[in-house]
């Protein structure tokens, strides 16, 4: 199990929407079935069949595969599926996208070239693949560098290829600091960046913080924006002046210490008498490590919503698995000691802690810790 949100290709795409789609409910049910059985052959046969019968590839990508994949994520979050099932289903969706890519020939009308990548540490490749196929179908030359692309790799690609645009897909706000490196590298080279994905926050607010030139909430929106504004303008400027206080750097340096404090606090509560199994211990460390990444990202863009959204998500996930979320509050409380002298960071920690202290989620927590964090 992992604390990361499951893949969803089109989080903001209204289901149905105003577009008329040829994808029927029967087709959706059949595709869901393929994912549930991790049946790659059946899934690819199904989409290719629908394509043969005249359903457009874009509809198949955005109205069949993407929503099915969003449902996979929801099933995982609700603990209906384990992570292996979720992963296998995602793989099958990915194969279905590949099958469509092979079977369709896009019209090349010299619209220019787009390089598409996920930032370092962002493994959700499916949304990026869907966007890449939609842009290709709309006539752009698209090169997909893959998920978790090291910035060094991206930069050497840009030095070797005359891309007009970098499209960056990021589903996890925790990866914003690494996304910034990629965005900044592109800005230096003079390549505009189109940001997309739920990681960039409500209405792409953090895409603007990082200095991206454009933001698109959905794959269709991305294609529409680019068709309207081509060549894409090199605009945008990072608004990260708060980083001058050095807290982000300091926090990165203290990651190990902060993680250690949380792990000790949580494990002593979960298993006060005996040792945790290594598996449980690894799991706790992994999830709390992700908590640290989200806190760091909140400090990086100076917006506590990165942190609170992660906590909300984690509480839901724990609740679905019958794990009392109290341990999450314990973990957040344990951050005060190692981070007490970082006022801006502690501001975000406090907002997060207060979010968890809502009586409906964690009734048993005493008030003694309230307000002990240094609020700037």
């Amino acid at each position: 199990m992992t604390a990361e949100p499951a893949e969803s290709a089109e989080p903001a795409e209204p289901v149905g929407g105003t577009d008329v789609t040829d994808v029927t409910d029967d087709a959706r049910t059949a595709f869901d079935q393929c994912l549930a059985q991790a049946d790659e052959a059946a899934a690819t046969t199904l989409v290719l069949d629908l394509l043969d019968r005249g359903v457009s590839a874009e509809d198949l990508l955005l109205d069949l595969i993407a929503p099915a994949q969003a449902a996979v994520g929801a099933r995982w979050a609700a603990n209906e599926w384990n992570v292996a099932q979720e992963h296998a289903a995602t793989y099958v969706s990915d194969r279905a996208v590949s099958a469509l890519a092979v079977a369709t020939r896009a019209v090349r009308d010299g619209r220019g070239s787009v390089v598409l990548a996920c930032p370092d540490g962002e493994w959700h490749s499916l949304p990026a693949r869907v966007v890449s196929e939609v842009l290709r179908l709309r006539g752009f030359r698209v090169h997909f560098l893959g998920s978790s692309v090291p910035t060094a790799h991206l930069v050497s690609y840009l030095h070797q290829h005359d891309s007009d645009l970098m499209a960056m897909s990021c589903m996890l706000a925790a990866r914003l600091p690494r996304a910034y490196r990629a965005v900044e590298a592109c800005r230096l080279v003079g390549v505009p960046v189109l940001a997309g994905g739920s990681g960039f926050g409500p209405e792409g607010v953090w895409a603007r913080s990082l200095g991206a030139s454009m933001y698109a909430p959905t794959a269709r929106a991305a294609a529409d924006i680019l068709l309207r504004r081509w060549p894409p303008p090199l605009t945008g400027h990072p608004t990260l002046d708060h980083l001058a206080d050095g807290e982000y750097a300091e926090l990165s340096g203290r990651r190990g210490a902060a993680l250690d404090a949380m792990v000790r606090q949580v494990t002593s509560r979960i298993s006060p008498l005996g040792e945790l199994t290594e598996e449980s211990h690894d799991l706790v460390v992994e999830n709390l490590g992700f908590l640290m990444d989200n806190l760091s990202a909140a400090v990086f863009v100076d917006d506590a919503r990165v942190f609170t959204a992660f906590l909300d998500f984690t509480v839901d996930m724990m609740t679905a698995r019958g794990i009392p979320p109290a341990s999450l509050l314990l973990a957040v409380q344990a951050l005060t000691q190692p981070l007490h002298d970082l006022p801006r960071t502690m501001g975000h920690v406090t907002v997060g802690r207060e979010r968890l202290e809502r009586p409906d989620t964690v009734p048993e927590i005493a008030d003694e810790d309230r307000g002990s964090g240094a609020v700037p």
Partner: protein
């Protein structure tokens, strides 16, 4: 000692009390006329008035700077007004000059006293200041240009940056003509209408300065008119002003020019002066170097990527009855080269696949080169010898003979469809980590083959083992970079075989591709962005029983689009 400082001295009577003066120095004692003559050489105006304010004497600069002075009359104009107000300081613009001065009282003048005005022309200073400011702007422009130009190593992007930076600082329209290789070349333009295009040798000849510059024969920037550039009118299309002026500047390169910059100005803008030419030349030096660096980088990157193809694993083939998947993550992420290698190909006889998976000691380019050599040798050896163990012995001899080669660990074998379903896998080992087998029930077994390192000892020993995979079951081959990956809470803990076995157990029922991807993902999380050794996994799976037909697709991991595994 400055004479000017003691302006009124020449009218001082000898022997009079006062500051020590040049005239007091031993040896020289100029008379009043000589001193007056010397004062004429001073660059300040010296105006001497008596107690009544009447002009009694002034030096030559005073007549020039303050027209209207008359001996015996009080000065008129701004100086007169300053005197009338009793000002001690004087500042005024006279005939376009910025004058400033001060009044010095001399009680001892003519025994009754008087005063002198010392007036300086500041306009020269201001011009100097202005030119310093312009110089500052120029250095800023050059610094900014340097930053912009060195940001990219891509030739197209660099040349566009050159023309864009030149406008409007240097020209209204700027175009770069790239060196001709053959019969035509490309131009890029910035200005009112940004564009790119091609020009031919013949067209360049109708713009003789540009043609000369492209041949490397134009050493200094030269000015010309629109009519001198007719052959390249397309490239300079927005510049329609016949009275305008252009400056043709060579962009220096390595050995030969890296292009020619044409800076065009409309007649509404001042013509190019010496300062402009100097600035253009300095800019061209930076632009030329940036273009040369981009060209060199491209040449080397092209060569490297051609060789790169040889050094990275080939895309996995599609083989009926065998599902394959791999993940590949080199330690050097920029280079994407690794000492881990794998290769799978359809068996020449009996169906199924022959495969090798290994790890050359070391990492980076050197290891990748040796890994490539091992793969090629194996291909050749396998063509003459079908049994894995003899092949490994031959390879061992080859590597021992090769003085540059280091040793490697590897698993070499074949997977053949079994008669009653599933796959029979034969693996022979040379000191590699035992392959792991994932059974249908989620149990993970390791296949201990043993064997010694390949290429290390003349008396090598290799062994082999066979494993049956039921439908859906798989074998995972992995490099030691996986189990030795340091991360976790202490950031120093090794991932370890026990974690790999535990995590693999959760993959029962997954397609091969999803398993490879999942191992890669878990390692990525474990490492959390820290450096790592070369990582590689290869998954060989017996097709699951249920879906009978293999889809007409590569079974390898999907991305990236260039068909190379990552």
């Amino acid at each position: 000692m400055s004479v000017a400082k003691h302006g009124p001295q020449p009218v001082r009577r000898p022997g009079e009390a006062g500051e020590p003066a040049a005239s007091d120095a031993p040896g020289v004692r100029p008379d009043a006329a000589e001193l007056a003559g010397l004062l004429d050489l001073v660059d300040q105006a010296v105006v001497v008035c008596d107690q009544a304010g009447k002009l009694r004497w002034c030096n030559a600069p005073a007549w020039r700077l303050l027209p209207g002075l008359r001996l015996g009359e009080a000065p008129t104009g701004p100086l007169g007004r300053a005197a009338a107000r009793g000002d001690k300081l004087f500042e005024a613009e006279v005939e376009g000059r910025e004058l400033s001065g001060r009044r010095v009282e001399r009680d001892s003048l003519w025994g009754v006293g008087g005063h002198a005005w010392l007036v300086r022309d500041e306009s020269g200073d201001r011009e100097r200041l202005l030119s310093q400011a312009a110089q500052g702007t120029r250095s800023e422009f050059l610094a900014e240009a340097g930053r912009t130009l060195c940001a990219s190593l891509h030739p197209g992007r660099t040349v566009r940056a050159v023309v864009k930076t030149a406008v409007p600082a240097l020209a209204d329209t700027a175009a770069v003509f790239l060196p001709i290789d053959g019969t035509w070349s490309a131009w890029h333009r910035a200005g009112p209408d940004q564009a790119s295009g091609r020009f031919t040798v013949a067209e360049a000849e109708e713009a003789p300065l540009v043609a000369r510059a492209l041949r490397g024969l134009l050493t200094r920037p030269e000015r010309c008119g629109r009519r001198d550039l007719t052959g390249l009118a397309d490239a300079l299309a927005p510049w329609r002003d016949d009275d305008g002026e252009a400056l043709v500047v060579t962009l220096p390169g390595v050995g030969a020019p890296s292009g020619v910059l044409v800076l065009a100005r409309g007649s509404g803008r001042p013509a190019f002066d010496a300062a402009d030419t100097d600035l253009a030349e300095e800019f061209a030096a930076r632009a030329g170097m940036a273009l040369a660096a981009a060209a060199l980088y491209t040449e080397q990157a092209d060569a490297a990527s051609a060789m790169h193809e040889e050094l990275v694993p080939d895309a996995l083939p599609r083989i009926p009855g065998v599902h394959l998947a791999a993940a590949y993550r080199p330690a050097h992420e920029g280079l994407q080269l690794s000492g881990d290698f794998y290769h799978v190909r359809p068996s020449a006889v009996g169906g199924g696949a022959d495969f090798v998976f290994g790890d050359v000691c070391g990492s980076g380019v050197e290891a990748a080169v040796i890994g490539g050599r091992v793969r090629r040798s194996l291909r050749t050896l396998a063509a003459v010898e079908s049994q894995p163990v003899p092949v490994l012995h031959r390879l061992n001899e080859l590597l021992l003979e090769d003085s540059t080669a280091t040793f490697a660990t590897m698993v070499f074998g074949s997977a053949r469809p079994a008669e009653n379903g599933g796959l029979d896998v034969l693996v022979a080992g040379g000191g590699h980590l035992p392959p792991l087998v994932l059974r249908t029930n989620g149990r993970v077994e390791d296949v201990d083959i043993g064997g010694t390192l390949v290429g290390a000892l003349p008396e090598a020993e290799f062994e082999q083992a066979t494993v049956h995979l039921a439908p859906g079951e798989l074998m995972l081959l992995y490099s030691d970079g996986i189990t030795e990956a340091r991360g976790g809470p202490t950031e120093q803990e090794m991932y370890g075989e026990h974690r790999l076995i535990r995590d693999l157990a959760t993959c029962a029922g997954m397609p091969a591709g999803a398993v490879a991807e999942r191992v890669d993902l878990l390692l990525g999380q474990w490492l959390a962005g820290r450096p790592h050794d070369d990582l590689a996994v290869l998954v060989i799976q017996a097709p699951p029983a249920q879906p009978a037909a293999t889809p007409a697709l590569r079974s390898e991991r999907a991305e990236p689009v260039d068909g190379r595994p990552r």
